[in-house]
């Protein structure tokens, strides 16, 4: 397969992947009439910026943005910290019935989250954390996804480097943070990115816990733009586009470090 052929296929794939987003973009600049036109347009005839203006004027936008940012960044950093610790423990350290414990950790995602809504609400209520962003965060810190990911990743690293460090007298803590983690930049960046997206888009749980409008996060604010009978899709798409920008920007930043990862060799 020539490189060119692959490039073309990838290009077509990229267009297909991007198509829905493209339409979101288009609709966000359209009036309702144009947005429901038949057949749907590829480009707006009379683009308007009203939809975006409405979002910034109507919504208390800056506040919701900051709320989302607070929740998201807290979760990103706490999850990276906790999951790398636990992932390393499961990958490298001896403990009786370790794999059974791991499966117990993993099994938390096997119960559909919606049946946990009521029990969790009851727990938060007893802790007095209803209508707090802290309540939202506390219940999202644990991530079996992250623990599993880091475990798999650490297992794929050759163990010799760590053993060499042990011979040199390093403690386990030091090995993790000064040797193993620096070698794990790509996976940490990917994981951080994915956590960012996940936390940024959290919807149902914050919706149930938060009652004061000023504590709302962005996805909730955008969902509220929907009317009961009909919605101004242009405004909703504009909201969706705005909400998607921080993760995209983050992605562009981490892209550079993805490349640095390739340079990693130096083992054998």
């Amino acid at each position: 397969m020539s490189k060119k052929f692959i490039s073309i296929i990838l290009l077509i794939g990229a267009i297909l992947m991007f198509l829905p987003y493209w339409f979101m973009l288009i609709v966000s600049f359209e009036t309702i009439e144009e947005a429901s036109s038949v057949p749907p347009r590829l480009f707006p005839l009379n683009p308007i910026t009203n939809n975006y203006k409405e979002i910034f004027i109507k919504l208390d936008f800056a506040r919701y943005f900051l709320n989302s940012l607070f929740v998201t960044l807290t979760l990103v950093f706490s999850q990276i910290f906790l999951c790398s610790l636990a992932g390393y423990a499961f990958a490298r350290l001896y403990f009786p019935y370790k794999n059974a414990i791991f499966l117990i950790f993993l099994s938390v995602i096997m119960l559909p989250g919606i049946v946990l809504l009521i029990p969790r609400y009851i727990i938060l209520k007893n802790l007095g954390l209803i209508n707090t962003l802290t309540g939202v965060i506390l219940l999202e810190i644990f991530s079996e996804f992250g623990i599993f990911l880091y475990r798999q990743h650490f297992l794929s690293l050759p163990i010799e480097m760590e053993e060499a460090a042990i011979v040199d007298g390093a403690s386990i803590w030091k090995i993790l943070w000064h040797i193993v983690m620096p070698l794990s930049k790509p996976i940490t960046l990917s994981f951080g990115l994915l956590v960012f997206i996940y936390a940024w888009n959290l919807f149902l749980w914050p919706l149930i816990v938060i009652t004061s409008p000023e504590k709302r996060t962005l996805p909730i604010a955008i969902a509220l733009l929907q009317g009961q009978y009909f919605s101004n899709w242009g405004v909703i798409m504009a909201g969706g586009i705005i909400a998607s920008l921080p993760p995209i920007i983050l992605f562009l930043f981490t892209q550079k470090s993805f490349i640095e990862g390739i340079a990693f060799s130096g083992l054998k």
């Binding site: 009439e33 038949v38 609400y121 149902l204 149930i208 509220l224 009909f230």
Partner: protein
């Protein structure tokens, strides 16, 4: 309710001005998640003191589970005059002789039509003398196909689906043919001859190509000028008035049946009080006010939904002057004389989906014969209702 939120906020400020010792905190939740949140809160022992209820769908269930305060005694004590609300609408707030909310708003169904399409074929616009036969004849003439034979404009559609939509088309049709939807015991009676006739009529229109097959959104078709007659609710008038620029449209009352009967159907929202509220008096004061003249006037001016209070609905009509559509708005108000309440049962949320997304689709596609299928449907629906009652 997002389009109404400013109106609601205005109502609340006016209320707080009148009753300075009562503070009202407003919480706004998207419709889909509303019920999830409500249930989660109630299960956790919380709830809003006052909240909005979808009387057509859920009132019976929530009343049966004793989550809502019976306000009949409050109404009597404060001597509330209930005649200011249309009688057909009031029924939706009353279960077994007791009241649980006061009407906040109502909707009715009427027929929107594309004037340009009628002009094109030099047909007279629909008027109040039309019957369903007239509609059928017009649908045939107004359906336009292109050279390849695909439909460019459908003669007839109904908001909320293609044509076979319960609220927008089927139920009013059945009612006008003299049929009922539920009997006195709260059982569904959709297997009567009027229902068979209504479904066969709808099926015929679809099979002949005058109406699209299930799966489309008729609102979009109508806006794009691809539907000549579109049955729809009062809630769409504002949306259409603001966004339809390519052609003129009108609104006419639903047609009469061969029995000479005209019928439309309504749902109504009301504010209910949580049975475990710690602020019963304040809650009642608020509910009373929100269903009163002052609040209705504020709501009416927003031009979003029709307030239930007498004469406040005229304000809703006036809101359409700026679009030149007051005559059309009047049609919805006038229709309330012929309205019937949405059939209230227990377990409505469970059986209605089954009815709308399965049975109707099967009937229209011909996969299920209408008469036998209706009997089967009614059996299944009533089983669901009985099960819901027992739980």
């Amino acid at each position: 309710m997002s389009e109404q939120i400013d109106g609601i906020k205005a109502q609340i400020s006016a209320f707080e001005k009148k009753y300075p010792n009562i503070k009202v905190k407003l919480e706004h939740v998207p419709w889909e998640e509303y019920w999830t949140k409500l249930q989660t809160m109630i299960a956790g022992g919380d709830c809003w003191d006052v909240f909005t209820m979808d009387n057509g769908f859920y009132l019976k269930d929530y009343v049966a589970k004793k989550t809502i305060v019976d306000i009949t005694s409050f109404i009597e004590k404060d001597k509330i005059d209930l005649s200011v609300y249309p009688s057909g609408i009031l029924k939706l707030h009353n279960i077994n002789g007791r009241y649980y909310s006061l009407p906040r708003d109502y909707d009715t169904i009427a027929m929107y039509f594309n004037k340009k399409a009628f002009d094109e074929l030099k047909l007279k616009y629909p008027d109040t003398n039309w019957t369903w036969e007239d509609v059928k004849k017009a649908a045939e003439k107004l359906t336009k196909k292109d050279a390849k034979g695909s439909v460019v404009r459908y003669g007839i559609t109904a908001d909320g689906g293609a044509l076979a939509v319960s609220q927008g088309f089927l139920f009013p049709l059945i009612l006008s043919l003299g049929g009922s939807l539920v009997d006195k015991e709260g059982k569904v009676v959709l297997d009567t001859p009027p229902a068979v006739e209504a479904l066969s009529f709808t099926k015929e229109l679809t099979e002949n190509g005058f109406a699209p097959k299930p799966g489309v959104t008729s609102e979009d078709l109508f806006i794009a000028g691809r539907s000549a007659m579109n049955f729809g609710g009062s809630w769409m008038l504002g949306y259409y008035a603001q966004n339809i620029k390519a052609f003129n449209f009108g609104v006419v009352m639903l047609p009469k049946s061969k029995l000479g009967k005209r019928a439309t159907i309504s749902d109504s929202l009301g504010n209910v009080i949580w049975s475990k509220t710690k602020n019963l008096d304040a809650a009642w004061t608020f509910v009373k006010w929100m269903a009163g003249k002052g609040a209705a006037k504020i709501l009416g001016k927003t031009g979003t939904v029709i307030p239930a209070y007498k004469d406040a609905d005229k304000l809703w009509v006036q809101g359409f002057k700026k679009f030149g559509k007051e005559k059309d708005a009047r049609v919805f108000i006038d229709s309330v004389k012929f309205t019937n309440p949405w059939p209230q049962t227990e377990g409505a949320s469970e059986w209605f989906d089954r009815w709308e997304t399965y049975y109707i689709v099967e009937f229209i596609s011909g996969r299920l014969p209408v008469e036998d299928g209706l009997r089967q449907a009614v059996q299944e629906i009533n089983d669901i209702i009985i099960k819901a009652k027992e739980e």
